[in-house]
C-alpha cells in the first residue's frame, strides 16, 4: 500500500516536472525563433534605406545640373560613387563605395553653399532634407540591427536559453555591423543644422 503510493507520487512528480520542462523548452524555442526573425528583419531594413538613398541621387543630380556653372567633377563623383555602390560585390566593396558616396555627397553640399540660388531652390532644399534623413535612417537601422544582434547573442550565451539554442543548432553568434569613426562624422558634420 505504502510502496504503491510512493510509486504513484514519484510518477506524478516526474510527470509534472516533465510537463514544466517541455513547456519551458517550447517557450524558449519560440522566443529564440522570434528574436532571430527580428534580427533578419532589422538587417532587411538597412537594405531598404540604402536603396532609398540610391534612388534619391539621380533626382539630386538632375536638380543641381540646371545650375550651369556647377562643378562637373563634383556631380561626376556622386554619379560614379552611386554606380560603384550599385555594382559592388560583397560587403567590403559595398562599404568602400558607401564611404565614397558619403564623401561625394558631402562635397556636393559643400560646393552648393557657394550658389545662393541653388540653396534657395525649394526642390534642392527638399532633397537635402530627404538625403539627410535617409543618412540618419541608414545609421539608425544599423543601430537597431546591432541592438537586435546584442539581444540575440545575449540569449544564446546565457543560461538556460543557451542549452535550448544548442539543442536546435541555433547557437551561432551573429556579427555586429561595424561603423567606422569617419562614417559617423560624415553624417554629423555634413548635415548639421538643417
Amino acid at each position: 500500500m505504502d510502496a504503491a503510493f510512493l510509486v504513484l507520487a514519484l510518477i506524478g512528480f516526474f510527470l509534472v516536472v516533465g510537463v514544466v520542462v517541455v513547456l519551458g523548452v517550447v517557450l524558449i524555442y519560440n522566443s529564440l525563433v522570434s528574436t532571430q526573425k527580428k534580427v533578419e528583419n532589422a538587417w532587411a531594413q538597412i537594405d531598404v534605406q540604402l536603396k532609398r538613398r540610391a534612388d534619391l541621387i539621380p533626382n539630386l543630380v538632375e536638380t543641381v545640373k540646371g545650375y550651369a556653372k556647377f562643378e562637373r567633377s563634383v556631380l561626376e563623383g556622386v554619379t560614379q560613387a552611386r554606380s560603384a555602390l550599385m555594382t559592388a560585390k560583397g560587403p567590403k566593396d559595398a562599404a568602400k563605395a558607401e564611404n565614397m558616396l558619403s564623401g561625394a555627397l558631402k562635397s556636393l553640399f559643400a560646393v552648393a553653399e557657394a550658389y545662393p540660388t541653388l540653396k534657395a531652390n525649394e526642390n534642392f532644399k527638399a532633397l537635402q532634407e530627404e538625403l539627410a534623413s535617409t543618412e540618419n535612417k541608414v545609421a539608425f537601422a544599423r543601430q537597431f540591427y546591432n541592438d537586435m544582434v546584442m539581444n540575440w547573442n545575449t540569449m544564446i550565451l546565457t543560461f538556460p536559453t543557451n542549452i535550448i539554442a544548442g539543442m536546435f543548432g541555433l547557437n551561432r553568434e551573429k556579427e555586429f555591423f561595424q561603423v567606422t569613426e569617419e562614417e559617423r562624422k560624415a553624417v554629423k558634420v555634413d548635415f548639421a543644422g538643417i
Binding site: A42, S133, N136, K137, F140, F144, F191, A192
Partner: protein, 305 residues
C-alpha cells in the same frame, strides 16, 4: 535603464490605479445615491444609473482619448507628403527605425511655445503631437531628442497608464463635484433627512468629496513624474545623443511662454509643464506634474553613451 521593467511596472500600476479608483469611485457613487435617493429602492436605482453612466463614460474616454485630447488641444493631423511637415515626419520615421516601432500619427498645435506630448491607448493607436514652436526653435537634433522621448512614452505604455489615470480622475472629480453641489445647494425639506445618521453621512461625503481632487491628482502626478525620467533615458537610448535632448529641455525651460492650448487636465502629458506655473504653489512637490527640469538636464548631461 530597464525598459521591460517600466512596461511591467506600468501594467502593475494600471491594476493599482484601477483598484484604488474603483474603491474611490464606488464610495463616491454610493454616497451620491444615498444623498439623492436614501437607503431604499430609489437609492439602488440611482446607483445602477450611475454605474452604467460611469462605465459608458470611461469606455468612451478610453477608446477615443486621442481624438478627445487633440480636439481639446486644438491639434491638427499632419500628412507625410506635406512639404511643411516633411522634416517632422522624417524625424519620427528615423526614431521609429531606431526603436523598431510602428509610426504613430503626427499632430501639430499652432503655438509658439515649445512643447510636445504623446497619447493613445497602446502603440497601435498612438499619436505624437508637437507645437509649431518646436519646429521653429529647436534644431533637428534637439527635435529628434524630444520625439524620441515621446516615442518612449508610447513604447513603455505610459500613454495607456496616463489615459486611464486621467479618465478615472475625471470620473472621481465629477462625482465629488456633484456631491458638493447637491448637498450644499439643495433644500433639506424632509424630516428623515435631519436625523443624526444623515448628518454623519453628509459630513463624510463632503470630506471625501473635498479631498477627492487632491487624492486623485496626487496619484496621477506621482505616476507621471517617474515616467518622465525614464522617457528621457529612453530618448538617449534611441538617439545615442542625450546632449541634444538636454539642450532641447534647456530651451524649453528658458521659454517663459505658457501654452494656451494646455489646461490642468492635459498638463501632465507634455514633455515639460506647459502652464509654467512652478512658483508659489502650496504643497508644491506633490502636485508638480513634472520633475524639476534642471534635474532632468543634469542627468542627461551626465549620461555616457
Amino acid at each position: 535603464m530597464d525598459f521591460y521593467k517600466q512596461i511591467a511596472d506600468n501594467k502593475r500600476m494600471t491594476y493599482v490605479l484601477f483598484f484604488a479608483f474603483f474603491i474611490l469611485i464606488g464610495v463616491l457613487a454610493t454616497f451620491l445615491a444615498l444623498i439623492l435617493g436614501g437607503l431604499n429602492i430609489y437609492g439602488l436605482t440611482y446607483l445602477t444609473i450611475f454605474g452604467i453612466f460611469i462605465i459608458i463614460y470611461a469606455l468612451i474616454s478610453y477608446y477615443f482619448c486621442d481624438s478627445i485630447v487633440t480636439a481639446v488641444s486644438g491639434a491638427v493631423e499632419t500628412k507625410a507628403d506635406d512639404p511643411k511637415y516633411k522634416q517632422l515626419h522624417n524625424i519620427v520615421e528615423e526614431m521609429c527605425i531606431a526603436s523598431g516601432m510602428k509610426k504613430p500619427r503626427i499632430f501639430v498645435i499652432n503655438d509658439t511655445a515649445i512643447n510636445a506630448f504623446a497619447t493613445g491607448r497602446d502603440p497601435e493607436h498612438a499619436i505624437v503631437c508637437v507645437t509649431t514652436g518646436c519646429m521653429q526653435f529647436l534644431l533637428r537634433d534637439e527635435l529628434q531628442g524630444v520625439i524620441a522621448h515621446e516615442l518612449t512614452h508610447i513604447k513603455n505604455y505610459d500613454i495607456r497608464t496616463m489615459t486611464i489615470a486621467a479618465v478615472l480622475v475625471g470620473v472621481a472629480v465629477l462625482l465629488s463635484d456633484l456631491i458638493l453641489r447637491i448637498t450644499l445647494f439643495s433644500r433639506r425639506d424632509s424630516d428623515s433627512k435631519n436625523s443624526g445618521a444623515w448628518i454623519v453621512l453628509l459630513v463624510f461625503a463632503l470630506i471625501l468629496a473635498a479631498l477627492t481632487p487632491l487624492i486623485a491628482n496626487g496619484i496621477k502626478f506621482a505616476v507621471s513624474r517617474k515616467a518622465e525620467y525614464i522617457a528621457d533615458a529612453g530618448s538617449a537610448e534611441m538617439t545615442r545623443n542625450p546632449l541634444a535632448l538636454a539642450s532641447a529641455l534647456e530651451k524649453i525651460s528658458k521659454d517663459k511662454e505658457p501654452l494656451e492650448a494646455a489646461n490642468k487636465a492635459t498638463a501632465h502629458m507634455y514633455i515639460a509643464n506647459p502652464l509654467k506655473n512652478t512658483k508659489g504653489l502650496w504643497l508644491k512637490g506633490m502636485f508638480q506634474t513634472h520633475p524639476d527640469i534642471n534635474d532632468r538636464i543634469s542627468i542627461l548631461r551626465g549620461m555616457k553613451v
